[in-house]
Amino acid sequence: MSSIYLDHAATTPMVEDALIAMTAQLAQLGNPSSLHTHGRATRKTLEDAREVIAKEVGCLPSEVIFTASGTEANNTALKGLYWQGRDNGRHVVVISAIEHHAIIDPAHWLQEHEGAEIITIPVNAGGVVDLDFLSHLIATRGNEIAVISIMHSNNETGVLQPIRKVVEIAGEIPVHTDAVQSFKKTPLSFSQLGVYAMTLSAHKIGGPLGIGALILRRAVEIPALLHGGGQEREIRSGTLNAPAIVGFAAAAKSKHYDVAHVASLRDSFIAGINAAIPDATINGISSDRLPGIVNVTFPGTQSDTLLLLMDGQRVSCSTGSACSAGVHEASHVLLAMGHNEVSAQSSLRFSFGATSTYADCDFVVSVLPDVITRGRAANFS
């Protein structure tokens, strides 16, 4: 039985260009911080890569700070901007109710250890942040806010967030956006958005694991998390991972992701689900979304059971939400969108990538009735 991978929002295959570029660079000797010929050679390649990424994301090369992951970039931005704000008497951290744990958890850490107060912006039933809430918050407590962090698109539902409007409302308050899911899937320009900081990750776009970037406005200096050689603007230390960075740039430059094709796959998949399981609902369907993510609620089921049954059909998909000690928890994103604990635990996320096909969609739709029937039986046993 062949296997079908519909979990591209978790990670997606490396594109060939990235694999070739990275493999070649692995054979090259030289620490990019060294001053000799070997070091300069690596530095040259690495800065070429930085310029490629900067161009793709609409920022200056000097605004790209390489990190080891999207999580590290999020932590660096949120904690750094908070500490900077706190020095100026601002102690409030504003996040949305649907952030990834790589924002929620550092925010809670700041609250528990660094005197921060978290204010959470709710979302509507379509999964979009409430701008009226934000406007009111800024009107009343704007001078207390150190940082606002709202993701560019949600990793569970794919729903896009109005970051440009958030920045307009925020005025001079620093805004960070986690754009890990958006990069290469929807138009994304750092300079046009006007944010202070933005997070990217290579392995979500066909680059390697273990490399991400914090795009941070020029001349914004924030305290570092990692201290040492000071390689990246004194904000991030550690020998630069040249092979991974080269792979990241190759993936960023690649034209392999055809947005129209992926969106059409998604729409055909949704039509198939509606026909096969009439009471299934697509979360965030009324909102602007990324092309590749479909989050479905199947009433009367439990996500972890469905995942097991899908896996048994060699279909890899996701429950879309976090696990605690391996136990599936109700998604905070779906809860924020108005689901209750039960319906929030009855959902699966299917995410498409550049390599997905109509045959993948058709197969999944063909096994769905049996999987849902068994899933419902197991839920009531």
Binding site: D304, L308, A325, G326, H328, G375, A377, A378, F380, S381
Partner: protein, 357 residues
């Protein structure tokens, strides 16, 4: 067959899963998350549902080469096992939670869910055997009597036994560890768990006191005369001699033992050693692991503790109660314990002891 292997993270369930795969079954490993707030690490022989244990189970499944998932059974476990444990103690009885777990979780909630999902049965690392006989699939003691777990499986109905696979019943524990080593399973030398898994401290009395309170009450002799005070009646066990803190000695200086716990009056009754002797027991809610027992008196054995001796007896059904008459008296038997009847090494059935004389 398509089977679910319940994998605790210990050596037994890992080898059981590996043997099921080798026997040609299609096996999926499942770790049961039984605590809503699991401890991060094991401490000694306690606990079997820490995060460390779930990692061990996952690693074993990966080495064996089977899919692995975690099933959240915390709510079922709390309602069916932990609450039962508390209410039994509160009622002055001494329950066995492992038995309840097999009855309500492993071979009920898990087996039902497995069957609904299209699986045929559940594999566990229990030391017990099954045999296909004219009377159907029957439950038997393991060949390694020192590890035999048929006692805690005696609550399974014929229907549940039909869906249970015990691949370890023909092997000694020593050989299971060797086999795990040979199979490259890192849990080969992991210590056995003995204590109650949901009491991570191992301090059962303290755990009960935290949940049931520690209302003091009288310790009385058989004439009802107060000779001491206790700190929570349910922290005592029948036959207990030490730690009673009695201030009035017996006339001849002989020791006293806990004879009875009376929850309504919050009283602990003590008396002489010979008053602990029991020759007859009755059990309620009997379960048959094979053909049902009738009112016809048969000779066999009864076991009243997980690793207790098999005592020669006559047994029969009296109305709804299972009765066992012992050939030799037994000292110290608490209500709430399971009485398990054996015919040779075959488990006939079990009941919860409600009366002794």
């Amino acid at each position: 067959m398509k089977l679910i292997a319940a994998m605790s993270g210990g050596v037994d369930s890992a080898v059981a899963a590996a043997r099921a795969v080798e026997a040609g079954h299609e096996v999926i490993g499942v770790h049961l998350a039984l605590s809503a707030n699991p401890q991060k690490y094991r401490s000694g022989a306690r606990g079997c549902c820490t995060i460390e244990d779930s990692h061990d189970a996952r690693r074993a499944a990966d080495v064996i080469g089977i899919p692995f998932y975690i099933w959240d059974m915390a709510e079922e476990f709390h309602d069916g096992v932990v609450e039962d444990f508390l209410s039994e103690y509160a009622a002055g009885r001494t329950p066995n939670p492992c038995l309840r777990c097999n009855e309500k979780i492993k071979f009920a909630a898990v087996l039902d869910r497995a069957r609904a999902m299209g699986f045929d049965g559940v594999v566990t690392g229990h030391y017990a055997r099954t045999e296909i006989t004219d009377a159907g699939k029957t439950l038997h003691r393991a060949v390694d009597h020192s590890k035999d777990q048929s006692y805690v499986l005696s609550v399974l109905t014929v229907e549940q036994i039909s869906g249970a696979i015990f691949p370890l019943g023909d092997t000694t524990k020593v050989d299971i560890r060797k086999e795990a080593e040979a199979r490259g399973l890192a849990v080969a030398q992991k210590p056995d768990s003995h204590d109650i898994c949901f009491v991570p401290s191992g301090d059962n009395a303290g755990w009960l006191r935290d949940r049931l309170g520690s209302e003091t009450g009288p310790i009385v002799d058989q004439d009802g005369i107060k000779i001491g005070e206790h700190k929570g009646a349910y922290t005592y066990t029948i036959g207990q001699r030490k730690g009673l803190g009695l201030t009035v000695p017996t006339a001849d200086g002989s020791p006293r033992f806990v004879l009875k716990i009376e929850p309504v009056s919050n009283t602990v009754v003590v008396g002489a050693r010979e008053d602990l002797a029991v020759t007859k027991m009755r059990g309620e809610r009997p379960v048959w692991c094979g053909p049902a027992v009738t009112n016809q008196k048969l000779r066999g054995f009864v076991q009243v503790r997980a690793h207790g001796a098999a005592l020669a007896c006559s047994y029969f059904l009296d109305g709804a109660l299972l009765v066992a008459e012992l050939n030799e008296p037994l000292l110290g038997l608490a209500t709430g314990q399971a009485m398990v009847i054996y015919d040779g090494d075959r488990v006939v059935g079990s009941a919860t002891i409600c009366e002794t004389e």
